[in-house]
Amino acid sequence: MLPEINWIVQIVWMIFLVVFMFYGQRIQMWLMVKEVEGSLARLKFMRDEGRKAAISNITDLGKPEGDPTAGVDRFLEYVTLAPQNMDPSGVVWKLEHLLDVRDIRFKDEVKIMAPQADEIQMRNLENTLEAALALNVIYKVIRHFYVLGKKTWSFYIIMQLQMVLPLIMREAEAFASALKAFTYGQPIGDGAGALVAAKLMFGHETKNISQDIVVSKVDIEGRKAYVLKAEGPGGNVGKPGEAIKQIIEENGGKIATIIAIDAALKLEGEKPGEVAGGVGVAIGGPGVEQFKVEETVLKYKIPVNAVVIKEDIGDAVSPMRKEIFDAADPAIERVKRVIMERTKEGDSVIIAGIGNTVGIGQ
């Protein structure tokens, strides 16, 4: 090899160093942009799959006269504006009203798009559309920050996006799994509380109480237990707070204790399906139902107990995994132990199984 090659390599290397000194951050940003681009493409794929799943299910189950694509696209762009909270007094009731209006609107939209679907299919279709809507929102928000970061060539926008993306991708993957669960009406991890209630009320007479909630009177260790859950097997969460409030009022506040069972997000390192107990109102969601129960128990000074079944966000909306299903029996044992320790024979107690009851009858 010619001795000049040494000089050439040295010069190229020096250029390389100078370029990296001045453009190192840009190159790093370029790599981050490429990484975000990859995730964005995956989010787009999931969003499109969600849209396709919604359209094909509506066509299969609802037998609409025309093409439901336009209706689905309109649904995916649906927005719900949070109520103004400059004066926070009464904001819970404003939020409840908005959620009710949203719920009715969603049901009406599904009814129009899928006129032949029965009640259970209608609820599952509604849930499928909501999962597709969530994927659409995630995709659009990430795309917004990606385009903004590229437009302004802001290192910090892209860096924040790249740092938070793994968590967002997990959530999006969970919604993508939920699509199939809702499409076929499979129980999901979030229904762990509803499953516990269903097991307790199985074989007993049920009656409807408040919106989409069923209740059974069950004798547990000599106590009169009002066991309630959302009405299954369609995808449904109902209004458990309203139902608990109604039962308390009907009994004139003479309830010895309330036990709410719900799925709770586990911390990394904890096993899925672990059962934990505690105090408080274990009702997830926007907080309206939890607020109603807290208001009522405060009025009558009723103790509230919680039994939670641990799972991660992916498990919560994807088909129920075996560990979570198996956790229902230990959760029942925990409920019985609370009843034995905290109440006496002849007392009335409320046991509320919280969560989406898709794929779970009663």
Binding site: V9, E49, K180, Q186, P233, P319, M320, R321, K322, F325
Partner: protein, 128 residues
């Protein structure tokens, strides 16, 4: 939902040029490291070669990641059907319309109506 796939963009030409330039630099530097006799120069070339080789490998890895095909994993969900009377149990794949506590076909042993006792998916080990 179908398990459809899609192919995203290929490696950009600029990306490819950068990878090639750094790779050539790495090879030349490593070659020089073996040829020269002076120890200091040899170490310098070896370091230059190793660094540029690592950099080009990193760039190549980044571009390969973007060429992967997308899929949404279909998880196997099973339904357990149980006879409440004799305890006869069957396990089969989930079918549309199944739900927990649904009455299904008659028990082949005692002709009682059987009940769907559980529906769950088997999670893989690494999922926990």
């Amino acid at each position: 939902m179908s398990e459809s796939t899609s192919l995203i963009r290929r490696i950009s030409s600029l990306f490819l040029v950068i990878i090639l330039v750094t790779l050539v630099m790495a090879i030349v530097s490593l070659y020089q490291a073996f040829r020269v006799e002076d120890l200091n120069t040899r170490i310098n070339f070896a370091m230059i070669g190793a660094t540029t080789l690592a950099f080009s490998a990193y760039l190549l890895f980044q571009s390969r990641r973007k060429m992967r095909r997308f899929t949404i994993k279909i998880q196997r969900v099973v339904t357990t059907i149980l006879c409440q009377k004799c305890g006869f149990k069957t396990i089969r794949d989930f079918q549309r319309g199944d739900y927990i506590f649904k009455e299904t076909e008659e028990c082949p042993k005692c002709n009682e109506k059987m009940l769907i006792a559980s529906i769950y998916r088997e999670a893989k080990e690494k999922e926990s």
